[in-house]
Symmetry: C2
Subunit: 116 residues, 2 copies
C-alpha cells in the first residue's frame, strides 16, 4: 500500500466499493509480490478511485470504483484472473467479496474538523 | 473481535455496509476498552448482521446492517454518541465513514469451493 494514502480520498458519492475480506493460508507462497503487483495494476485501471487495506488476523481490502463496469473489467483482467486462481489454489483459506453502492460518506480530520 | 468470526456470515443481499476507516492518535487513552464496549453494543442492536475489523497502520471496520434505519438508530445511541465524541476529541487522527448498499456478494472457502 506504499503508494496510496491510508484513507482513500474518494469523490462525492455515488460510487462503488468492493469489500474483499480474507483469511490466509500459512506461508507467503508468492502472495506478497502478487498482492503488490495487483495493487499497481488496479490503481492504473480506468474508474479506480482509491483503496484501503489492513490485515490483522483477517485481511480487509476495500477498493473504490466509479461504476460497476470498471469493476467488471478489472475482475476480467488477464493478470488479475491468474491471481484470483492462485488465491483459490494457494493463498486464501476463506474469502468474501461484496460489491456495494456507496450512497453517503463523511469524515473527520484532526485540525480540520467534522464534515462531508 | 473475540466473539465474532473473522469473516461475517451475512445473509443474501441486499443489506447495508458501514465502512469505517481510521488512523489513530498516539497512546490508548481508553480506546481499547471503549472499542470492545461499542462492539458488544453493536452486536446486540436490532438489524445488526455482522462485523469485520483489522488495523495495520490504517484501521478498517466494516459493519453490516439490515437497513438504513438500523444504522441511523445505532448512530444515535447515547453511549455510541459519547464514543463518537471521544473519537473526535482524542482517538482519531482522521476517519472516513461510508454507507453502502451491498448489491452482490460471493465467496470462497477452502474445501468447500467457490460460490455465492
Amino acid at each position: 500500500m506504499s503508494d496510496t494514502l491510508p484513507i482513500a480520498a474518494t469523490p462525492a458519492p455515488p460510487y462503488y466499493a468492493v469489500i474483499f475480506t480474507s483469511t490466509r493460508t500459512e506461508g507467503d507462497q508468492g502472495y506478497g509480490a502478487m498482492s503488490d503487483q495487483m495493487l499497481k495494476l488496479a490503481v492504473a485501471r480506468p474508474g479506480f478511485l482509491g483503496v484501503e487495506s489492513a490485515r490483522e488476523g483477517v485481511g480487509i481490502t476495500v477498493s473504490y470504483w466509479r461504476d460497476l463496469e470498471s469493476i467488471r473489467l478489472w475482475k476480467r483482467d488477464a493478470e488479475h484472473l491468474a491471481a484470483q486462481r492462485l488465491g483459490r489454489e494457494a493463498w486464501y483459506e476463506q474469502y468474501a467479496v461484496r460489491i456495494a453502492l456507496v450512497e453517503r460518506a463523511y469524515g473527520f480530520e484532526r485540525g480540520a474538523g467534522y464534515g462531508a
